[in-house]
């Protein structure tokens, strides 16, 4: 009996401990969820009378969070401007635009699930997708499956095309951004045009994101076409932060020009470790992850001299570009990032398409998107039959915490820092 009583008491205590633990866990998770929810914007969703809902998937946390912040600001700015002007004309009726934003945490699975939620729960009649192919392609596929118009930027054209290449192409999703060959061509043309003296040897390292198999070969081809000798070609995981082996190889190769494709955390770690290893090439080109201001802020003076592709700068001669950059800086106290212009344009393009469609019928909005042909804050955008459009490009360089155009020379361009500070 006493054993049974003891056993019963032990079970009760055990149950109490589990219950207490679960209550504490739920409290913490609830607190975490509330805090996380504070970081995402929301709308009442649905397309009720007088409004249309555009869903936004953005990477607000994780390694791509720097992009997501710009995306959110730019889209919300374009939408608020449209709403302040009375809304968009849809079939003769002025309608306010509501946005619902979900954080994909830089995870393609979450991006896909978010798009489903935005469409089926929040009533979004169109989606603006996240940046970079890892999450962008997943989100686009989800929209395609739901047969809802989808627009993204920040996803290079080739990886976007490749996803549906064997399925007859995209029906509902659109993308405008850069094409790999021009990016790579510019990367290896500018040193020759600017007459920068090097040994014409280059080392290329790309990450294993969907961009890697596209930009790696493009860089190799462009390098050789412009007279460079490719003395090293490597791939690295996109999450890698320890680069001693790679830096040793770069050093051993004797390359004056190092081209790397990766994300912001990668570049910050790589740049620091290059200095720590006593190796700085004369030209250092960081593609994709060096666009963000957070790279320059985190790397400090180590960012000086790093070159990168530039598809949008406030100094570009496009309508509203300078004003947009100034508005961002005034609003946030931070420097304008490149993706601001395209994301602002993406919101405008989507709203214009809904307006032209005269309603929320998905196919009509898709047809209106396909007919887009205009000059926006990021330059001319006209979609080809495969639902893609390529943007104009220049080469920029980080100088004292600001990204400045160095090529082509001329209006808006500054003198390049050469060689990289610390290069021998």
């Amino acid at each position: 009996m006493s054993q049974d009583k003891g056993e019963s008491m032990r079970r009760s205590r055990h149950t109490y401990h589990i219950a207490f633990g679960l209550v504490l866990l739920l409290s913490f998770v609830l607190a975490g969820g509330i805090l996380a929810a504070c970081g995402s914007s929301g709308g009442s969703g649905g397309s009720g009378s007088g409004s249309v809902t555009i869903g936004i998937d953005a990477s607000m946390s994780g390694p791509l969070a720097g992009f997501g912040a710009y995306e959110k600001w730019a889209i919300e700015k374009a939408v608020s401007e449209a709403n302040a002007a009375g809304g968009i004309d849809v079939g003769g009726t002025k309608m306010q635009v509501k946005t619902v934003l979900l954080d994909d945490k830089s995870d393609p699975n979450v991006a896909s699930s978010n798009v489903d939620t935005l469409i089926n729960k929040d009533g979004a009649i169109a989606i603006i997708g996240p940046i970079v192919p890892t999450v962008g392609n997943a989100a686009a596929l989800a929209a395609e499956k739901n047969q809802i118009p989808y627009l993204e930027t920040g996803n290079p054209v080739e990886p976007f095309r490749a996803v549906q290449a064997k399925s007859g192409g995209w029906k509902y999703a659109f993308d405008f951004f850069v094409l790999a060959p021009p990016v790579a061509e510019n990367a290896y043309k500018f040193p020759n045009d600017l007459k920068l003296k090097t040994n014409m040897k280059t080392f290329i390292s790309v990450d294993n994101s969907p961009d890697g198999p596209v930009f790696g070969p493009a860089a190799k081809t462009a390098a050789q076409a412009n007279g460079w000798t490719v003395v090293g070609y490597e791939t690295h995981p996109s999450t890698q932060t320890e680069f001693n082996s790679l830096i040793s190889k770069m050093k051993a190769s004797g390359a004056d020009y190092v081209y790397v494709l990766g994300d912001t955390p990668t570049f910050i770690a790589l740049r620091k470790q290059m200095d720590a290893a006593g190796y700085v090439p004369k030209i250092l080109y960081f593609q994709r992850g060096a666009q963000l201001q957070e790279f320059a802020d985190a790397a400090g003076s180590l960012a000086d001299g790093v070159t990168l592709e530039a598809y949008w700068l406030p100094s570009m001669p496009y309508p509203g570009a300078a004003d947009l950059g100034a508005a961002y800086e005034q609003s946030t106290g931070k420097k304008a990032g490149q993706i601001l212009g395209p994301e602002y344009a993406a919101a405008q393009i989507m709203m214009q398409a809904i307006s032209k469609a005269g309603g929320t019928d998905p196919q009509k909005v898709v047809d209106a998107l396909a007919a887009t042909d205009g000059t926006f804050v990021c330059g001319p955008i006209k979609f080809a039959a495969d639902h893609t459009a390529a943007m104009n490009l220049v080469v920029a360089q980080w100088q004292n915490g600001t990204s400045k155009q160095i090529w082509p020379t001329g209006s808006g361009a500054v003198k390049a820092i050469f060689p990289m500070p610390g290069a021998k």
């Binding site: 055990h14 401990h17 589990i18 207490f20 633990g21 679960l22 504490l24 866990l25 739920l26 913490f28 998770v29 607190a31 975490g32 805090l35 996380a36 504070c38 970081g39 607000m60 946390s61 994780g62 390694p63 969070a65 720097g66 997501g68 912040a69 945490k105 294993n208 490597e234 791939t235 690295h236 995981p237 999450t239 890698q240 932060t241 320890e242 680069f243 001693n244 082996s245 790679l246 040793s248 190889k249 051993a252 912001t264 955390p265 910050i268 770690a269 620091k272 470790q273 200095d275 720590a276 290893a277 006593g278 190796y279 957070e294 790279f295 802020d297 985190a298 790397a299 400090g300 180590l302």
Partner: protein, 292 residues
Amino acid sequence: MPSSTELITAILSGLGIGGLFAVAALGLSLVFGVMRLINLAHGELIVLGAYLSYSLAQWIGLDPLLSILIVAPVVALIAYPLQRYGLTPVMKGDGTAPLLITFGVSVVLQNLFILIYTPDVRSLNASYAVANFKVGGITVSVVYIITLVAGLVLLGLTHLVVTRTGFGRRLRAASEDPAAAAVMGVSVPQMYAATFAIAAGSAAVAGVLVGLTFSFGPTAGTAYLITGFAVVVLGGIGSIKGTLVGGLLLGIIESVGAAFVGDGWRVFIGCLVVLLVLSIRPQGIFGTAGGN
């Protein structure tokens, strides 16, 4: 095949990385060794240390290494009541409840980091973090000397405290037989809380080193939690000596492996070797067959 210079550089950098791994894993080892608790918030405590050091650098321009003197005690002070009043009451079960609570703490901390610091990636900058010197034809990175020395000193000190002091005796008693220790006048809840605080303080030190060597963001802690587990398991659960050796070994194996087959295989090689060692010696290098 890497050249001899590349190989030696890989070993030296591997020792440095290994020192950082050991510091990152020390707290996990202590908490599991004493309390049989897996602290799923350990990675976030590392990142918390990095963020606090970052804040001190921004506010008063304090050097990151010097900031350890403030950051480590602050994080320890935050951890003490969490363990004493949040975890101790639920320690007497099968371990599920405390595990869930530490997971919850991890979620809250990640979101707090995002709210306070934004999702932007950060870095701790100092001239010595990117300095180097030459020994013969080999370039030695100063930051790896720092992380190696930090690992040796911190783990050495912890080992001495645990094996040679009265506090250490009480700690070992509470770990080996809590009931008997309580009868002998040892306050087991206090010992647990003190252990957790020390573990959190060492995590904060690891955070500063991570910030100097790499970069960090709100979700960076998970990777260090996983690496910490690998080090603890490789070295032997609950063995501080094992944690040091495990960390150094893992660092060297990954670096040398990367020198041969590329940085892309670094983590894979590290995991493979850990599995290999465990298949031969399941208790880890310095673990005892019945556990510590």
